[in-house]
Symmetry: C2
Subunit: 349 residues, 2 copies
C-alpha cells in the first residue's frame, strides 16, 4: 500500500538478531507527561572518595584492600550472582518444575582510579586500556573449560541499577548460554546455513548503503541505531570485519573500538547535557563449544531516557505482558545522534 | 547430586509458559545497597482532583468532558499507541529490514470515580464491577473481525510508568499476536498436542499438591508465585477451571476473581505498608482465529519492589543482554506473601 509510511503509521519491526518483533508508534510523541520524573543526577563527584569500595587504596566488603592501581582494576565481585563452587544438579518434576544448577564467575572492572570520570569523560587512550582488560579477562575466563559464555557489560547511572557511582563494568561468565545470546546464536546460524553469508555482515552492508540509521563510522567500526531498536536512543557498535569475538581484535581494531565508544558516549552525554544512563554490553561467540563462524561481534547500548534528563521510557504493562513498544522512530533517533557534537559539554569553553 | 539445593545454590529455572530460562541467586540477599532509592509515594490523595483528566465531570485532552460516572468509565485513549485507520502495508528489504503495519484500538478504564482508591482499597463488590467491564470490553472489541489479540492490563504507581495517579487500567487490542502471547500460545499448544492435556491445568494440580508456592485460593482461583517468577514478588492468578478467556467466566467466577484480586493486592500493600507498584495483566486466547483449546486464562502481577518501599529490583545490564536474574527464591516470596494480613494497613484501627 502506497499510503503506508514508517515515519507516520504504527507498525511492527522484526529484530533479525532475536526473531522478536517490536511495536513502533511514530505518531505518539505528543503525549503529555504527568508521570514520574527522575531526579537529576549529581554531576560533580570528587576524583577520590574515601568511602567508595572501588577507589584505589580503599577497603572492600571482604576486608581486603584495593591496590594503588593506575589504570583499570579487576577483582571478583564480593556479591557474585554466580559462584565457582556450585554443585552440579537439577530438578525435573513432570517437565513442569525444571531447574539446573548454574556455575560461574562474576568480576568487576573499575575503569580507572578516578571516581569522577565516566567513559565519555576519559581519554580515548585510557578507554583503549579498558578494551585491553576486556580482552585479557575474556581470554583468561575462557581457559576454564566448563565456561560457555562470558557477558561483558556496564550499568551506567543510578536509574540503570548501578550500585556505585565510581565508573565500572562487570563480567559474568557461566556454564550455560543465556537466553538472549541463545536467540542471537540461533538467528545468525539459521541465516548462515541458508545463505552461506553472515547475517550481520549483510545487515551492515545494507545499512552503510542506506546511511539513514548510521550515526558515524571509523575505519573498523560502524555505529548505528538498529532498525528494530527498542529503547529511544538505543545504538549498536558493529565491527566491519566479520569477527566472532573480541579475542581476535587487532591492535588497530582495539584503538578504533575505544574511539567508537568515546564518540558515541560523548554524543549521549551531549543529548540532554547530563551523564546519560545506559546499560551496554557485548554479544559474541560462546566459548569452549566449538566453532561459531556465523557469530559477528557487536555491542549494544540500551539507554532509557526519552525526552529529557528526567523523563525516561517505561517498559511496563503492555511491554512486559505483550510486546516492546517505542514512540520515536529509529531513523529520528539516528538523525538526532548524528547531529550532536563530539566535544563533551563539560569541556566546552 | 544430593548436595544441590534450590534454596542455597545458584540455578536456572524454566518458564514453561514462554520456554525461557531465568537465573536464581538465592545466596545473594546480603548484598548492600548504595544505589538508587525511590521517593516514597504520596499516600494521601483527594477523592476528587479538579485537574485530573480521569475524574468525573473533568475535561479531557481532546476537549470532551467526562460524564458524572458512578462505577467504571471507559474511553478511547487520547494518545493511543495503536490507531483504527492505519493503512495496510509493510516492508521487506532483503529479509533484513522487515516491518508490518499495525492497526488497533487503545482504551482506558477508570476503575472508579474516586481519585484516591486503588484496587486494594476498593470494595470487592466494586472490583467485581471492573471485572464486568473487562468482560464486556473484551466482547465488544472481539466483534471487530480483524482484531486478533486483546491485552487487558494495569500500570500501578509512578515507578511503573503510570502517567496519572487516578486508578485506571488499559486495553490494547490489535491485528496481530504480540511476542509474549505468541510464546505462551506455542508452549501451551506443544504440550497439549504431546500430552492431550492442558499445560497450566497440569501445572496447577502439581502446585496445589506441593502447596509451597501457593499464596491462597478461593473456590474458583488459585494465587501463587510461579516456579519461574522473575520479579521479586511476582504472582499469578489462575482459574481452576480450564477456561480459554474471560468471555466464559460465570457470575460466580467473576465474583471470585474480584475476591482474588482484592486479597492479593491487599497483601502487596501490606508488605512494605505502601501502595505497592506493579504492572498486571491477563493472558488468554487470541480472538477471531479459530479455536485455541489449550489456552488457560491467567493473570500476571509483576511488582518491582525488592527490599523495601524504596528499593526495587533493576532488570538492567545482565538481564537485558543475557538473562533475567532474581535474588530471593519463589518459595521465599510465596511464604512471605502467604503470611501477610488480608486487612489493608490503612484500615487497621
Ligand atoms: O499509556 P500510558 O499510561 O501513557 O504509558 C505507560 O504505559 C504504556 C503501556 O504499558 C507504556 O508504553 C508507557 O511507556 C508507560 O509510560
Ligand atoms: O551487580 P550490581 O551492580 O550490584 O547490580 C546491578 O546489576 C546487576 C546485573 O545487571 C543486576 O542484577 C542488579 O539488579 C543491578 O542492581
Amino acid at each position: 500500500n502506497e499510503n503506508f509510511d514508517l515515519k507516520e503509521h504504527p507498525h511492527s519491526r522484526l529484530n533479525i538478531l532475536t526473531g522478536d518483533w517490536i511495536l513502533v508508534s511514530p505518531h505518539r510523541t505528543k503525549r503529555p507527561w504527568q508521570g514520574k520524573v527522575e531526579a537529576t543526577q549529581a554531576d560533580q563527584r570528587p576524583p577520590y572518595d574515601p568511602i567508595c569500595y572501588l577507589c584505589p587504596g580503599n577497603k572492600r566488603a571482604d576486608g581486603s584492600e584495593n591496590p594503588e592501581y593506575k589504570a583499570s582494576y579487576v577483582f571478583t565481585n564480593d556479591y557474585s550472582s554466580l559462584l565457582l563452587n556450585t554443585p552440579d544438579g537439577g530438578l525435573n518434576d513432570e517437565e513442569l518444575l525444571v531447574a539446573n544448577s548454574q556455575r560461574g564467575i562474576c568480576r568487576v572492572i573499575s575503569f580507572s582510579p578516578r571516581h569522577d570520570l565516566t567513559l565519555p569523560e576519559m581519554e580515548t587512550a585510557d578507554i583503549r586500556k579498558v578494551v585491553d582488560v576486556w580482552q585479557t579477562e575474556y581470554q583468561d575466563l575462557a581457559t576454564y573449560p566448563w565456561i560457555k559464555h562470558i557477558q561483558i557489560f556496564e550499568n551506567k547511572g543510578d536509574i540503570m541499577g548501578c550500585s556505585n557511582p565510581h565508573p565500572h563494568g562487570q563480567i559474568w561468565a557461566q556454564n550455560s548460554i543465556p537466553v538472549e545470546v541463545a536467540k542471537e546464536t540461533q538467528q545468525q546460524k539459521a541465516y548462515f546455513e541458508q545463505k552461506g553469508r553472515s547475517l550481520l555482515g549483510d545487515y551492515l552492508q545494507l545499512e552503510l548503503k542506506k546511511q539513514e540509521r548510521i550515526i558515524f563510522e571509523n575505519e573498523h567500526f560502524a555505529v548505528l541505531v538498529p532498525f528494530w531498536a527498542v529503547w529511544p536512543y538505543e545504538a549498536m557498535i558493529m565491527s566491519k570485519r566479520h569477527i566472532t569475538s573480541l579475542l581476535y581484535f587487532t591492535d588497530d581494531e582495539k584503538t578504533a573500538l575505544a574511539d567508537a565508544i568515546k564518540r558515541l558516549t560523548v554524543r549521549y552525554d551531549n543529548m540532554f547535557e547530563t551523564s546519560f544512563p545506559y546499560s551496554a554490553g557485548m554479544h559474541q561467540s560462546p566459548v569452549n563449544m566449538g566453532d561459531h563462524p556465523y557469530w559477528h561481534w557487536h555491542m549494544h547500548f540500551y539507554p532509557p531516557l526519552l525526552r529529557s534528563a528526567t523523563v525516561k521510557k517505561f517498559m511496563v504493562g503492555y511491554e512486559m505482558l505483550a510486546n516492546p513498544q517505542r514512540d520515536i522512530t529509529a531513523e529520528f533517533a539516528a538523525e538526532k545522534l548524528r547531529n550532536l557534537s563530539e566535544v563533551h559539554y563539560k569541556t566546552k569553553g
